[in-house]
Symmetry: C2
């Protein structure tokens, strides 16, 4: 099998309100924010453990001041010894490291600490109530649970800086938390870390109508940014199921991909600037707003996808494209995975500039959605197909774009790439097609326990992994594969009646 | 005036053959390559000076093992002292540092060194001939001239590694050189550095038709890659005037922008992987080929635009989009700069997905082209306008795309944004429109001495700088402004009969 690079950081679930509501403690009238917050971070304090997540297991890799320690060797040591490559490789494979234990050199919170924080932040944003802490200590999947006694809600970069400076001097472990929508437990404490919740830093700082450059604070909820931009005639180059809760700081820190990556590329291309606070409280201002900036090393990229291990992202500037009004969605069936690939190549060529999504799901995924979600139906006749593709186009002209898509679909049918298909006739139908694709994670949750993997693979090898897992698991679990075919990003999910180490032992 | 961030690294000149030929020593039958090579690099040896270029002046900033030294403080020192932000800022402004002097701690080449290199590389690729060295010691603008006695042409990463390891141990300064098309002297030695010329590492390693991912060696000439991809039905996301000579390794190391940035974004979004050799010879393999790769810190971004100061890029993997066959070009006139901006906003909105270039030039630029280049004519009636815009669209359908552009042009005329315009009727006309825009640097060269600046600025402030320079220089020089309006990238050029410090003293 190809070398598999697991990137378990993407946030994936439906934006369906009832589902999101499950995450809120219904008895809490004072929940942290409209939606609980948190992003997948393992932020370092002076000498805090940094967690790499490999599948459902947490592994510990020591860090120190943002330099990754691996088996007692820091990244900086490696550079000094000329072993940068080795350091790189080590970082990719946390599974070699030991299981995590609380580092006894960390301090434990005391009354003086609380007084200090209250002095800096005020009473209201220093949260010790058990109910609110219970929510913030638990990840969305309810798989990981920390035991933090303190949640802080800074309202400015200066406050984040003061918190970190103090925690650093006191050797108090911290964990940054955005929308807490991560699926790998990175946004919740492992032990008793102080939770730094970013949800109150939710201001839009500026928006430039000429360049389309948005500058905002890290705690802005993605959906709020999408709505704001929509009113300005622009769109976010990033969209994902968790948009109703996830925050832009967390998106950037986890290098979230999502549904628009195939069209607008990754955050490395779209994020123009970042402001971040280092573990010792120093504020790094890389908040540029230029489309191209070649002044010195472009260090902001280190923060994109570094999961908070180098610092807490406090502000972001991002290039947003103008909103295009002509959107068309088709739901297609393919007989085999090879046809899906071929269809992708042809779509990139024939729809090129208007292609905005190319998502796929296997028949097992579709079955789950149809069986577990109310009101979802298959837009195609009930003949069973092995794969389904959702194609979305976005352009500036309704007539031309639709004709282009229709011509493409006709070609795909005649070429035998597609065995059946439906073209949405209105927004409601388009939404119902999207509901199938976006509903898979929700259906999986309803079906029982789920082992989730989010992998980047060469497109041609992507589905081999699903088949391999099916072979290994046989009847013990239901293996489903879906995701962003256009980006080589597979969501491999193993669905079982309940969490059971015997299931994972069959394939790990 | 807005804080101006000068990024003097872009390679800009026409791909016109006669112009390129000027760079070749006509008497040399053994020139390094079909086209002299080099990219804007100030590569560090053990304790070599790293050069920042600010306009026409060279400034020295000490470096040590890839960590930038500024006023005796290394970047690493700054991190340790928690002054990362300060270190960032210092790096952007070389003009504060002292003028460069050869660091006496560097060794001087001796016969043993030559023997060593011949042992590693063979006789032919260890170049000591004066004529070839004279070419490699001189930049394209003939403004900077080094005195290197040795040019090496490695043919593999392993050879680059051996060279650097040896030079590091001997404390021999080096300068990497790609197509030597840089305009700021970064690709030529300052003193007697060993030139490491990358032109023989010019193999295409792989190309994946499904994903469009190209992997190649750093010495591949951009135009050769464009041609290769064209035959595969794909295009490079990067195109620039110097394509006939510049090399992909240099493009990546200088984070070249070019003509397609407005459509396909920067190299930070398109480069998926890099292999590089550090100053001590260690090879860093970051040559991933995944659209999204969240495994560890994405350190390749540090090499994009770092001008060789961290290492020599030896291989690159890059995401290439499918070739779209419908191309249309329009040449438009605007009365004022505000109309140009408004036109850009509307073009992004109304042409959106098919817009592939939005270039501008002022009337002074057009005059230069018309006066100095043979066979170039103004496609518009001779009424004088203040600004000219070249719009290119690229899409998948000839009919729809042309109709879309025509409708946009009609709108722009009716809205008073455009005072005149011409739509190319065939490829020949389209080329002639492009010739005007791409011919500006060549015309400037023919007009005499030229002080070149390549700046990223907020679009709305971009032309203020040109006007400010005109005010300061009055009749002493001809100030022209042109460039990539869509990206906020201005080429500010000051044209004078000859180089004269009295000219630059008027505006610096």
């Amino acid at each position: 099998m190809e070398r598999v690079r697991a990137s378990n950081r993407l946030l994936r679930y439906s934006s369906n309100k009832s589902l999101l509501d499950r995450r809120l403690n219904p008895s809490s009238q004072n929940s942290i924010h409209n939606s609980p917050s948190g992003y997948s971070h393992g932020f370092v304090n002076k000498c805090r453990d940094f967690h790499l997540y490999n599948g459902n297991h947490k592994w510990s890799v020591q860090t120190c001041f943002g330099f990754l320690r691996y088996r007692g060797e820091t990244f900086r040591d490696s550079v000094e010894r000329g072993c940068l490559e080795k350091a790189f490789r080590c970082r990719g494979f946390g599974s070699l490291a030991a299981k995590v234990e609380r580092n006894p050199s960390f301090s434990t919170l005391n009354a003086d600490d609380i007084s200090y924080f209250k002095g800096v932040l005020g009473e209201k944003t220093v949260v010790q109530e058990e109910e609110r802490l219970a929510i913030a200590n638990t990840d969305w999947m309810h798989k990981y649970k920390g035991s933090s006694k303190l949640l802080l809600q800074p309202q400015s970069t200066e406050e984040v800086s003061q918190i970190l400076k103090y925690c650093n001097s006191r050797c108090l472990a911290v964990v940054p938390q955005g929308g807490n929508t991560g699926l790998v437990g990175g946004s919740v404490p492992v032990f008793d870390e102080v939770i730094i919740n970013m949800s109150l830093m939710n201001n839009i700082i500026s928006f430039d109508q000429v360049s389309g450059i948005l500058v905002c604070e890290a705690g802005c909820i993605l959906e709020n940014l999408i709505t704001f931009l929509d009113n300005q005639g622009f769109i976010m180059p990033l969209d994902l199921g968790a948009k109703g809760s996830c925050q832009i700081g967390g998106n950037v820190s986890t290098n979230a991909g999502g549904l628009r990556l195939v069209r607008y590329g990754s955050l490395h291309g779209n994020v123009l600037g970042i402001e971040a606070v280092l573990a010792d409280g120093n504020v790094i201002n890389m908040l540029g707003t230029l489309r191209k900036d070649n002044t010195g090393y472009d260090l902001k990229h280190l923060f994109i996808g570094s999961e908070g291990s180098l610092g807490i992202v406090t502000k972001v500037s991002i290039l947003t494209p103008p909103k295009l009004f002509s959107v068309n969605v088709a739901f297609l069936a393919c007989q085999d995975y090879f046809s899906c690939q071929k269809l992708l190549v042809e779509a990139k060529r024939k729809l090129g500039e208007i292609l905005s999504a190319f998502e796929f799901l296997d028949s097992q995924s579709l079955d789950l959605v149809l069986n577990h979600l109310d009101g979802v139906r298959n837009p195609l006749p009930p003949t069973m197909h092995n794969f389904y593709i959702l194609i979305e186009t976005t352009g500036s002209d309704e007539t031309y774009d639709r004709q282009k898509l229709e011509a493409f679909l006709l070609y795909a049918m005649e070429a035998g790439l597609v065995s059946d298909g439906a073209l949405a006739q209105d927004i409601s139908q388009a939404s119902s097609f999207w509901r199938i694709r976006e509903g898979v994670p929700e259906a999986l949750m309803k079906a029982g326990a789920v082992y989730k993997y989010d992998l980047s693979l060469p497109v041609e090898k992507m589905y081999d992994l699903v088949e391999e897992m099916r072979k290994r698991l046989s009847d013990s679990a239901n293996v489903v594969g879906y995701g962003h075919l256009g980006d080589g990003n597979l969501h491999l999910n193993i669905s079982a009646p309940q969490y059971d180490d015997r299931v994972s032992s069959l394939y790990l």
